[in-house]
């Protein structure tokens, strides 16, 4: 097993009723790599992330996360293995999904204490160092409803990072934010990329994808249409479908 590949996906299929959303998806992510997944709405990008994070079940194919085989040829592993596989990934949601009844600090410590069984003092220390990194130390005692969207999204990133995932997924992390707040989040992601955090980012921020990602995947109709170096794919797409999609963004 090649563990330099943090994610290895083969032949993934998924449909909602009669609608096939993922049609034979295969790809892998190397440790330390940043991959951008782009494509029109409804192309299956989010569903793909949700399948890898076990929020949706696949019908066929295999998913391996680091050394845990989550699904093999459409057959899911035992619940214990699934849980440990899921803990190796982190997911940042489009609409944050922070726990509104917990303070910012407790949002970040709760899973550390309850799931990883860390001591509360240790969990707090980890949370505070992450908050410092996110520039939110002064918000530790605040509640999510008191924060701006950008601040909430940074807390969501800190919450995911606190469990030390091997790979972090972003599901359109800036789609719910205005351009100014988007900048805040992109800055944080860029910093994580510099630290060699493995990340898979579903995004509509083409300039950002070109700038921060090593590799880009263009997805349409449940398939990868084109794949390549991020700058290459975005500046010089080969497929007609990719060209057509990017032309609309270029017009902006």
């Amino acid at each position: 097993m090649d563990t330099s590949e943090v994610i290895k996906i083969e032949g993934l299929r998924k449909s909602f009723g009669s609608l096939a959303v993922l049609k034979d998806i295969s790809f892998s992510v190397q440790r330390g790599e940043v991959v951008a997944v782009i494509g029109p709405s409804g192309s299956g990008k989010s569903t793909l992330l949700r399948c890898v994070n076990h929020l949706e079940l696949v019908e066929a194919g295999s998913i391996r996360i680091s050394d845990s085989v989550m699904v093999k040829d459409g057959v899911y592993a035992h619940a214990d293995i699934l849980r440990s596989a899921c803990l190796k990934t982190g997911l940042v949601f489009q609409n944050f999904n922070l726990f509104p009844h917990f303070s910012v600090l407790r949002n970040i410590t709760e899973a550390q204490v309850r799931v990883l069984r860390r001591k509360p003092a240790q969990a707090k220390e980890r949370a505070m160092s992450l908050l410092e990194k996110m520039g939110l130390v002064d918000k530790a005692a605040s509640y999510p409803c008191e924060l701006s969207g950008g601040q909430q999204q940074r807390v969501c990133i800190a919450r995911a990072l606190a469990l030390d995932p091997e790979v972090l997924f972003f599901d359109e992390p800036t789609s719910a934010l205005d351009p100014e707040l988007t900048g805040e989040i992109l800055k944080v992601i860029r910093k994580l990329a510099e630290e060699k955090m493995t990340m898979v980012i579903v995004t509509h921020e083409m300039a950002f994808a070109r700038d921060v990602a090593d590799r880009a995947l263009f997805m349409d109709g449940g398939r990868f249409v084109e794949e390549g170096g991020a700058a290459e794919l975005l500046d010089n797409p080969q497929q007609e479908r990719t060209k057509a999609f990017l032309r609309r963004f270029g017009g902006q």
């Binding site: 929020l55 949601f93 999904n97 509104p100 009844h101 309850r114 799931v115």
Partner: protein
């Protein structure tokens, strides 16, 4: 006057017992009922739906009468049908004991069954109002199903359902007056007795003041709870 107030305070004690015992049993019992109502198991869901339909579809006063008298009729039916076959007196005596409860117990059973039905629907509304994203975030962070429910979902449900539950709790204070229909000497029963004895409607209105003050206290307590939970939105 002092004697009348004494009797009415005694009646109020009974009313308060009914009130607190009902809450004590109905609030927890409503949770499994709410889960049954949302269950994927068809039979369980239909069974709970039927229970809710009956409890919310018939008058509480009728349920009180039914729960108090039904076991007694049931015993008589069994006795008349089978006393020819089973002649042991001990058997019939112990069956009679099993199939009878005193008035107060009947009141508690009826109130608990009735109020649990209303609370179950309130819980269900609260649970279904929690966005799916909360479950998804909890799952991605590795929380188990029970941790998710107890630590993430339930606290948010409590905040959401408090105003609706408060409504029911205030109604319960007034509904305790129905216990008199099977002869439990609660506040309204005491007031009516005093009224008949003294040829005066005054005790009835005094009872009204008692109910009002009880509900004032209940409202105050519930408002405090709501304020305590208002630290987030």
């Amino acid at each position: 006057m002092a004697k009348m107030l004494g009797i009415m305070f005694e009646g109020m004690t009974v009313s308060l017992e009914v009130f607190f015992l009902t809450l004590l049993f109905a609030l927890p019992l409503a949770l499994p009922a709410a889960f049954g109502r949302m269950s994927k198991n068809w039979a369980l869901r239909k069974l709970v739906t039927l229970y809710l339909l009956v409890m919310r579809g018939t008058p509480l006063i009728l349920q009180l009468i039914f729960i108090y008298f039904a076991p007694k009729y049931f015993f008589r039916l069994l006795f008349e049908s089978f006393s020819g076959f089973i002649e042991s007196e001990g058997f019939w005596n112990s069956l009679r004991f099993l199939l009878s409860w005193d008035r107060f117990t009947a009141v508690i059973i009826a109130f608990v069954l009735n109020y649990a039905a209303y609370f179950a629907e309130i819980y269900r509304g609260g649970i279904e109002a929690i966005p799916r994203g909360q479950y998804e975030a909890a799952k991605v962070l590795g929380f188990t199903g029970s941790q998710t429910f107890v630590r993430i979902i339930l606290p948010q449900v409590l905040k959401r359902i408090l105003p609706a539950a408060a409504n029911e709790i205030i109604t319960l204070v007034k509904d305790t007056a129905l216990a008199q229909v099977i002869g439990v000497a609660e506040l309204f029963h005491a007031a009516q007795n005093a009224s008949a004895r003294e040829f005066s409607t005054l005790p009835i209105f005094v009872a009204g003041v008692f109910y009002f003050f009880m509900n004032w206290a209940v409202s105050y307590a519930l408002t405090r709870c709501e304020k305590k939970l208002s630290y987030y939105s």
